[in-house]
Symmetry: C2
Subunit: 107 residues, 2 copies
């Protein structure tokens, strides 16, 4: 590496240090099988807690806990519908990110 390259990379890293923190934080959300399953299910359709719990064979409590994390990170949103609370993806990025990872795995 020449000194120009070194300076450039050095700059990128130190300048965006905080950004990397956020990026890691984002990926951490996808880094748990329960959560990716939840997110992937939601790419297909919005659904309520009970359905998610049933689909994924995860405790209702566990699902709730994970949904809280996903919601506070703005990956999902929720609305009440009668007795149920229906969850859905906030935007299309989640699907994009999942697809991106899947792409890597299929090699």
């Amino acid at each position: 590496m020449d000194s120009n390259t070194i300076a450039r990379i050095q700059a990128i890293i130190t300048k965006n240090s905080e950004l990397f923190e956020e990026l890691a934080q984002l990926y951490k959300l996808f880094g748990d099988s329960s959560r990716v399953k939840i997110l992937c299910a939601l790419t297909q359709s919005e659904m309520c807690v009970g359905e998610i719990s049933e689909f994924l064979s995860i405790t209702q409590s566990a699902v709730s806990h994970q949904l809280r994390i996903l919601k506070s990170s703005n990956l999902v949103k929720s609305r009440r519908q009668g007795k149920n609370i229906v969850y859905s993806l906030t935007d299309e990025h989640v699907k994009t990110i999942i697809d991106c990872g899947m792409e890597h795995l299929s090699e």
Copy 2:
């Protein structure tokens, strides 16, 4: 959700259960700020352990540990060059994935 939708989603989830495990495992690698920084640095240029350590202000030992994880997951590869061991990305997917996450953050 109609029963067709339910059946379809149910199928997707149970059929690919193992895949989600792998996907989560993959994202977990990006879910640590030290590792994304390392990976991002490597998108710019191959470099040796000492350089990474210097760039990121992380202990040499810590860098080595993380590189071992990244290598055993096939995200990076290494070769010896004199006294140093030079690390580089295995393929372009890492960059794609990082960009994909960055995209999400820039909103």
